[in-house]
Amino acid sequence: MTQTLGDLPQIEYGTSGSLTEAASIGAGIWKRFRRHPGAIAGSIILLILIALCIFAPLSPYDPEVSNMDERYQPPSWSHPMGTDALGRDLLTRVLYGGRISLLVGLLVIGISISIGVPVGALAGYYGGTLDTILMRITDTFLTLPTLLVLILLSAILREVEFPLIERNSVLTIGLVIGILSWMIFARLVRASFLTIRELDFVSATRALGGSDARIILRHILPNSIGPIIVEATLEMGYAIIEESGLSFLGFGIQPPTPSWGNLLSNAQENFTKYPWLAIFPGLMIFLAIISVNYIGDGLRDAVDPYKVIEKAGEY
């Protein structure tokens, strides 16, 4: 292995050394992100998917009204993904399912950030006993067998009849996955707070009389936002996989509300005869996750160019 610096990807450090404006940092990130072909392809595919899901109501078919004359039609021009056991257009259902799956993904990001970031920030900023307690809690959550607890929680909540979380709605599933995936954010944020709180500009702010809240929110947090964004992107992928997995097992989003997971699950029964029912929802899950992962990878390299040197050109 001949590893020289010449093999490393060239790295841009913002534009012309002007560090005065945040905009130039953003521009630098965008410039590096643009060089990652996978990330660009992923962004385009994801944007198309999102647009299709948003405009799903424009479809001429209704996702829930059955049409017994058109059961089990293979893919054709009028039904690009075929029809299901009740004669419903699969493409329409897949797009409506995509809304649910992507929504769950966003919800999970929201929930895990709003638990993980405060926990990590408080632990990293104050240190001491608070840090020990918060990190013990984090470690305890990390020792839970995630998938098994997910199954248990959603099996339990499936029977609950509270208004908002009734019958495993989007909110319930997002909540359940979210409270089992905030730990990575807590660890990341804590780590970056531990380093940044020792820097001179933080001491300067404190000397000027800045309150703790101000230092945390205005000075340290913006500087640790990079890894949070990267992790949030990757989290979207995990959330989609977990939601579809749960729905596949029957513990997630409950039919008739379509989600990629339960479409796949329903297709199982007769899928050797009607394979398109399983293949299209599965392909959508695959496409969504691979694009999200490529975007996350591109963002990671773009946000933190030093990591690229460390990892010696990891794509």
Partner: protein, 347 residues
């Protein structure tokens, strides 16, 4: 080192204790309680439910129930026939003495249920993990050595794909291809079976039949491991590539293969081995998706059916054992790491 391990073990005990309270509470605070599933699956009269509750000890306050679950009830009088009078000593020994109670579904001891399933899961998962690592190591090495070659770029793309394809979808596609579409040209039967461990109509050890049943589940499970481990090894090979000791090795005139295998690979494998140790609990927990999809009678499927039927003693037992397995394998990873890399010391 010994004080370190002793301290970690002590922490483990505390952590497991806290987790047991947490998981017990979680399971028992479920709406309807543990008997909710009973009322749903079969028609049971309300007064029968009351009797059952007394028999299972579910009429007692939660802390007492937890205590009984933990240390048993052979020191206290219980109501065995459910008539409201506590007449004789209990028979439960508690999980601390290895008694995980009875499955609500089959009325068998939970440990027996697990004992029947565990070997199947261990068989499937060891083969899966072994094959995964066996393929991932050479792939990872070559793509690190030939960084940015066609091979490397192909493998990187494939590993992204491998990590993005959900197990349950991959399994379905494989069943479609090898069970529904491809037929054995001589007998006209499906090329590979779509589920189970062994065909019903064969007797004896039936090794070839068992292997045929293993192929699809193993491929389904192994693909993710191959993608993950080959990528992991590639980046840890590239990480040691810049280290001074490699430059020294090369400077003293060692042939390239020796630098690679004696110096680079050995050091790059250290994180891989610790990663393997961290991933070991999956051997115990099994793969819920692979096992449900291929009707493999293992732990994952046991957990799945227990969750469907709300078989709480089984769920609790598997959860606690799963958490314990994760904690111990993390400890094992740390100890292994300091053993393999003597620069790392814990005290």
């Amino acid at each position: 080192m010994f004080t370190y391990i002793a301290r970690r073990l002590l922490q483990t005990v505390v952590l497991l204790f806290l987790l047991s309270i947490f998981l017990f509470a979680l399971v028992n605070l479920a709406p309807g309680g543990p008997l909710a599933g009973q009322g749903r699956s079969r028609q049971i009269r309300p007064e029968k439910i009351e009797i059952l509750k007394r028999q299972f000890g579910l009429d007692k306050p939660l802390p007492t129930q937890y205590l009984i679950w933990l240390v048993g009830n052979d020191w206290m009088r219980v109501d065995t026939d459910g008539d409201g009078i506590e007449e004789s000593f209990g028979t439960r020994k508690g999980i601390l003495r290895g008694d995980f109670g009875f499955s609500y579904r089959t009325r068998q001891p939970v440990l027996e249920e697990i004992g029947q399933r565990l070997p199947n899961t261990v068989l499937l998962m060891t083969i899966t993990l072994f094959i995964g690592v066996l393929i991932a190591i050479p792939v990872g090495i070559v793509s690190a050595i030939r960084q940015y070659s066609k091979f490397d770029i192909t493998v990187t793309t494939l590993s992204f794909a491998g990590q993005a394809i959900p197990e349950f979808f991959l399994g379905l596609v494989l069943i479609l291809i090898f069970y529904a579409w491809l037929k054995n040209p001589w007998t006209g039967e499906p090329l590979l079976p779509s589920g189970g461990m062994v065909s019903l109509n064969v007797s004896g050890p039936a090794v070839w039949d068992r292997i045929k049943h293993l192929i699809l589940p193993v491929i389904t499970g192994a693909l993710g491991w191959i993608a993950w481990y080959s990528r992991f090894l590639r980046s840890s090979m590239l990480e040691v590539a810049n280290k001074d000791y490699l430059r020294t090795a090369r400077a003293k005139g060692l042939p390239n293969w020796m630098v690679l295998y004696k110096h680079a690979l050995r050091n790059a494998l250290i994180p891989l081995i610790t990663m393997l140790a961290i991933d070991l609990p999956t051997i115990f927990g099994g793969a819920v998706f692979v096992e449900t999809l291929f009707s493999w009678p293992g732990m994952g499927r046991l957990y799945f059916t227990a969750a469907v039927d709300r078989d709480y003693p089984v769920l609790l037992a598997i959860l606690i054992m799963g958490a314990a397995a994760i904690i111990f394998s993390n400890l094992l990873a740390d100890v292994l790491y300091s053993f393999l890399d003597p620069r790392v010391r814990y005290d």
